[in-house]
């Protein structure tokens, strides 16, 4: 512990402790961002399965990052973050555009299909850009799986403003999103500017998930898991769901990271793999439940 407060101590243990602390803080921040991002996306779309990874938003961010690495020699967290956010915004517009086509608007099923299809296309583009460039592949591969181990004080510093802005947006749009949950007509009757609140909340969601993705790679299912656990426990009031899903997201991601290190020892299992293993079965359960309710 001494190493923490005395930078002159350079023993191996001190370094390990320092690194672990950075990693834990980074984990907590990414988890909080992804948890809140999921809660916002679900409210904006009034769709229980909206999550950055399921809607393909993460893959969009990935494609932009890999293109940046491959074509523009980008390698710093600062530059990743803007590319990832741009990719996330464009992909969400694209996926919601496709998902809203046809009758019935953006139903859960149509959004998942649109997200999966978009994700598949974007993933193959990512591979197509990467394969002929072995140096890009090395740099990208680690990022791609989703690792919080790459976090350092610099990336934390880059992340903080995005996290704060995103969380503030979430807190301020909460009451309006609560009204929106009763349907657009009720919300308008209550004096909510439905278009504005959707746009602002969606922007918050994309900022949070884009920034987390840029720095830690695409980590899936946190938003989905956190909000559903919280909804079961405390009900559907967003004024409580938003802070609680930040907390739950942070805990889930940190625990997943520890789990990945334990299961993968002596090496480690990337946290993105762990969350996918936990998240996929939950997603299946929720989709089945959502479908039954719709029927």
């Amino acid at each position: 512990m001494d190493g923490l407060f005395h930078p002159e101590v350079l023993t191996h243990e001190a370094n390990v402790v320092r690194q672990r602390i950075v990693r834990t803080i980074f984990c907590l921040m990414c988890g909080a961002a992804l948890g809140v991002s999921g809660a916002l996306m679900q409210s904006v779309t009034r769709n229980p399965i909206a999550d950055p990874s399921i809607l393909g938003v993460n893959t969009g961010a990935s494609l932009f990052v890999v293109c940046g690495i491959a074509f523009f020699n980008i390698s710093s967290a600062n530059e990743y973050i803007w590319l990832a956010i741009a990719g996330a915004i464009l992909t969400s517009i694209f996926v919601f555009g496709i998902g809203s086509m046809g009758s019935g608007g953006a139903t859960p099923l149509k959004l998942v299909l649109a997200g999966a299809a978009t994700s598949a296309i974007l993933s193959s583009l990512v591979v197509a850009v990467m394969i002929p460039r072995s140096n890009v592949m090395d740099q990208f591969r680690f990022w791609q799986v989703g690792s919080v181990g790459s976090g350092n004080w610099d990336s934390i510093a880059t992340f903080v403003p995005f996290l704060i802005i995103g969380l503030l947006i979430a807190v301020f749009t909460g009451p309006g999103l609560n009204a929106l949950a009763l349907g657009d007509e009720v919300a308008k009757g209550l004096g909510v500017r439905t278009g504005t609140i959707r746009l602002v909340a969606a922007l918050g969601a994309v900022l949070l998930c884009g920034a987390a993705t840029a720095l830690a790679g695409p980590i899936g299912f946190i938003g989905l898991l956190a909000t559903h656990v919280i909804r079961l426990l405390i009900g559907p009031d967003l004024r409580y769901i938003i802070p609680m899903s930040a907390l739950t997201g942070a805990i889930i991601l940190t625990v997943s990271d520890v789990l990945g290190r334990l299961l993968g020892s002596p090496g480690e299992l990337e946290v993105g793999i762990v969350t996918a293993f936990v998240g996929a079965p939950i997603l299946i359960l929720i989709t089945m439940k959502a479908k039954m309710r719709a029927l």
Binding site: P175, G183, E185, V186, G189, L190, G191, P236
Partner: protein
């Protein structure tokens, strides 16, 4: 008593996409009264209500509250005077009665201000008026259709507006609950002077509960006035294409419509009604 407001629609034309549904309608809502909009399916009665509640923007004409065009009033300010219960609101999964009713307080909140004593009082009062206080902590999913509708109306009441619009508040309910809801709305009007405007399907319940009726046909206002002035067999023939006899409601002063079909007619009532072939 709630204050008096003038709420007017002046020659409004409105519809969805390129389809025009309302043609040049001008009405003034009688303040502190119950007004009911009647008409056949697809005549535009819901569209009229939605346009007046600024859910649909009219393509021409103007809607004003106390002389001010409603689109120039900030949405939250308007929502403190004018409340709306649409036809099919969404119930969030797992929501409790008190939470749902509390969401009606949205227009009274500002950015930084949390829930005040006034908010809790408004919610308690709304639940009391609709007689749902005992369900406060229950999940909406556990309630019957009639109870659920009372919760939605309580949500609109928690908004504490002087004017309340309701789009078919009794649809899908058993007759018992239709009467119960309309009685409660009448209580509300008599006790607080709340101006109520609603769309109703049932012509006889409309005639019974309305102070003022607006009759629509094919997107045009064809008659308005008290039920006794408006409900006549020729008007019913015009707007519903139904032959009928209008009699005095045996239990109230309002008119009552007795439909005439092709079967089960006493010969005497047919001879009285020359419209029948």
């Amino acid at each position: 008593m709630k204050p008096t407001h003038t709420f007017q629609a002046e020659s409004i034309t409105a519809g969805y996409d390129k389809k025009t549904i309302l043609h040049d309608i001008s009405i003034a809502i009688p303040s502190n009264k119950i007004s009911i909009i009647i008409g056949a399916n697809g005549c535009g009665k819901s569209t009229l209500l939605k346009t007046m509640a600024r859910l649909i923007k009219p393509t021409s004409g103007q809607i004003s509250l106390d002389g001010k065009p409603i689109h120039k009033i900030p949405p939250k300010h308007l929502a403190r005077v004018l409340g709306l219960l649409p036809q099919s609101p969404i119930v969030p999964e797992g929501i409790t009665v008190a939470d749902l009713v509390g969401r009606g307080r949205f227009p009274h909140h500002t950015f930084m201000k949390g829930w005040s004593k006034k908010d809790y009082e408004a919610v308690a009062e709304a639940m009391d008026i609709m007689n749902i206080t005992e369900f406060a902590d229950r999940n909406i999913d556990e309630l019957s259709g009639g109870q659920r509708q009372r919760v939605w109306i309580a949500m609109a009441l928690a908004q504490q507006t002087d004017i309340l619009f309701l789009d078919e508040p009794t649809t899908y309910l058993d007759i018992t609950y239709q009467v119960e809801i309309l009685d409660m709305l009448t209580d509300l009007n008599r006790k607080y002077g709340t101006t109520i405007v609603m769309v109703l399907h049932d012509i006889n319940l409309s005639a019974r509960y309305a102070d003022h009726i607006f009759a629509l046909n094919k997107g045009k206002l064809v008659a308005e006035g008290t039920p006794s002035e408006v409900i006549t067999s020729s008007l019913i023939k015009d707007i519903f294409n139904l032959n009928c006899k209008v009699i005095e409601d045996p239990v109230s002063d309002s008119p009552s419509v007795v439909p005439i079909g092709r079967h089960h007619n006493k010969s005497i009532s047919i001879s009285e009604n020359p419209v029948i072939v």
